[in-house]
């Protein structure tokens, strides 16, 4: 297994590179950060090791630092794990994380990520997920924080009958920039992959969703699905979406879709004709919009926590 490459502070990607075209990282990095030693953290589940409480990890950013957390999760054959990863912090910093996940044969990984870094922080996370046959990865990311955040995911589906899902909710306001970039590589037949992201942007926030499904020649009977829906609450908000399919197998089912817009007038009018005020109707529809993706989280406790955080954000945004 090759080493997962972290972003190098002295050699940052720029928008000239295709996969970075919407995100100007060098411009966002605060000056004069002091680099800390990498903080490795490893979770290992042995063969057949199942059950138990969810594992919780908290990564806290510190003013004026460049942190490089390294997370490695290995699930051996038949193991399962639920991991709740939280990010917070205070001040201006760059949290530059690499995450390597290896899901063994018939293993199952539920991964929930709540990113609520400081509004002055930069958060980058390079994630690589490698799955073996019959493995399942179910990921959910709530991105709330950071002035600039990029979640880059590269999944490699190496065996048959894998199920791999990346779902997420991006909520951004002010000058925030939130970028989700996914490469889903199908290398074996009979696998299913899902990407379902919802984004709500307020003020001058900018959202990026780039999702690519790459189906290699041996990956017959692939079922690949990708959907990004964004709602803009302000005229100054911007969403850039780049859905891509690259298919070399000839018997696959792949679909992708992307929408960006405002709340539809039809349901708004319907609700108002039933007595809901404009504000009530908007809130109900926005709650429904985010709930549909939050519903993908399997862990009931964290589903509720994320629902509450999302609702809080929406109530604030809509009651301005």
């Amino acid at each position: 297994m090759s080493q997962l490459a972290a972003l190098q502070p002295n050699n940052l990607p720029t928008p000239v590179q295709e996969e970075w075209k919407y995100t100007n990282l060098p411009k966002s990095i605060p000056a004069g950060l002091s680099a800390l030693q990498p903080e490795p953290h490893s979770i290992h589940r042995n063969r057949g090791q199942t059950g138990g409480e969810p594992v919780q990890l908290l990564w806290t950013g510190r003013e004026g630092t460049l942190q490089a957390p390294v997370l490695k999760v290995v699930l051996e054959e038949g193991a399962d794990l639920t991991l709740i990863e939280r990010h917070d912090g205070k001040g201006s910093y760059w949290k530059n994380m690499t995450t390597e996940i290896i899901v063994g044969a018939n293993a199952k990984f539920n991964h929930v990520r709540i990113q609520n870094d400081d509004a002055n922080a930069v958060h980058t996370n390079m994630v690589r997920v490698t799955l073996a046959r019959d493995g399942t990865y179910n990921g959910f990311a709530l991105n709330l924080g950071g002035k600039m955040m990029r979640h880059e995911i590269h999944a490699i589906l190496n065996g048959a009958n894998i199920e791999c899902s990346f779902n997420g909710l991006n909520l951004a306001n002010g000058q925030q920039h939130t970028d989700t970039t996914i490469l889903m590589e199908h290398k074996a037949p009979h696998c299913r992959s899902n990407q379902f992201y919802r984004t709500v942007l307020d003020d001058s926030a900018r959202g990026v969703f780039q999702g690519k499904v790459h189906v290699h020649k041996p990956a017959q009977k692939t079922d690949g699905y990708q959907l990004s829906n964004a709602i803009l609450l302000s005229d100054k908000a911007e969403m850039d979406t780049k859905p891509e399919l690259e298919i070399y197998a000839d018997d696959v089912k792949c679909s992708h879709g992307a929408t960006t817009g405002q709340l539809d007038e039809e349901p708004l009018f319907y609700l108002r004709s039933r007595g809901l005020t404009d504000a009530q109707a908007r809130l109900l529809l926005m709650d429904a919009f985010v709930d549909e993706v939050v519903d993908k989280i399997e862990d009931e406790k964290f589903k509720t926590i994320i629902q509450q955080q999302a609702q809080e954000w929406l109530h604030k945004a809509l009651s301005k």
């Binding site: 039809e266 609700l271 108002r272 007595g275 429904a288 549909e292």
Partner: protein, 253 residues
């Protein structure tokens, strides 16, 4: 109950402003049921939207009074609170909002605006159960998102359910019969007939005479090209059915 006076309304289209309602006059007394019939494109649905307060339409002239109060300046929710209800021709699907949340929010929003106490969970459940049972609406339907995956008949029954629990005094039924088989039509008509009374009036918009066999109107109007061109008793509907719209529309042109 409801008085429409010289109502003109237009909509912005790609080809410019288009006037759709060209001087509607209508007076519906307490407890009355009026039917409006007319061919496609006569402005029937526009009238229903303008009554309910849809903002895409601009009212350029005239007035709509509900119990003597001009409602044209009111937003849709305040019209609902004032007792106006529109059963939509095409009920809107709202993914992610389940039926019971929707009904509860709606009932309490209306009650609050009317100065009534909001219903607690138990009273709400009882009200919804009772009314949905009468309309043959299953518990399963109540668990689904509003109108999502509903059949045509289920959507229309859902409209009547909302009408029943919101306790309006003036109801507009916009082609509620369209696309219904005879059994579904009877359920819907029963629901409406149960609600008829001295303090409630109905405006039933329909393309077909069939509905009026089940909901007996007091007055029938024929609408064409944005105007009411003929008014009569229930026999007018039969005459229309026999002769077709062409003769009436021809006279109007």
């Amino acid at each position: 109950m409801l008085k429409i006076n010289n109502l003109h309304a237009s909509i912005e289209t790609d080809e410019g402003t288009k006037e759709i309602l060209k001087g509607i006059n209508l007076e519906i007394g307490d407890g009355q049921v009026h039917a409006i019939m007319g061919p496609n494109g006569s402005g029937k649905s526009t009238l229903s939207y303008v009554l309910a307060g849809r903002e895409d339409y601009e009212v350029t002239k005239g007035s709509i009074e509900l119990d003597g109060k001009n409602i044209l300046e009111l937003p849709p929710e305040e019209r609902a609170a004032a007792g106006l209800f529109l059963a939509f021709q095409y009920p809107v699907e709202i993914p992610g909002v389940n039926m019971s949340t929707f009904l509860k929010t709606s009932v309490n929003a209306v009650r609050k605006q009317r100065g009534q106490e909001e219903l607690d969970a138990l009273a709400m459940l009882k009200l919804i159960r009772e009314k949905s049972k009468e309309l043959g609406i299953s518990d399963d339907m109540m668990k689904r998102a509003v109108n999502v995956g509903f059949s045509g008949g289920e959507k229309k029954r859902n409209e009547i359910l909302q009408m029943a629990i919101l306790d309006p005094k003036f109801c507009v039924l916009d082609e509620t019969d369209s696309g219904l088989d005879i059994d579904a039509l009877k359920i819907v008509a029963d629901g409406v007939n149960k609600m008829r009374g001295q303090n409630r009036s109905f405006l039933v918009i329909t393309h077909y005479q069939r509905l009026l066999d089940y909901i007996k109107p007091d007055v029938v109007h024929v609408m064409a090209a944005g105007k009411i061109i003929k008014t009569g008793g229930p026999e007018l509907a039969l005459e229309l059915e026999a002769k077709g719209y062409a003769e009436f529309v021809g006279k109007a042109a």
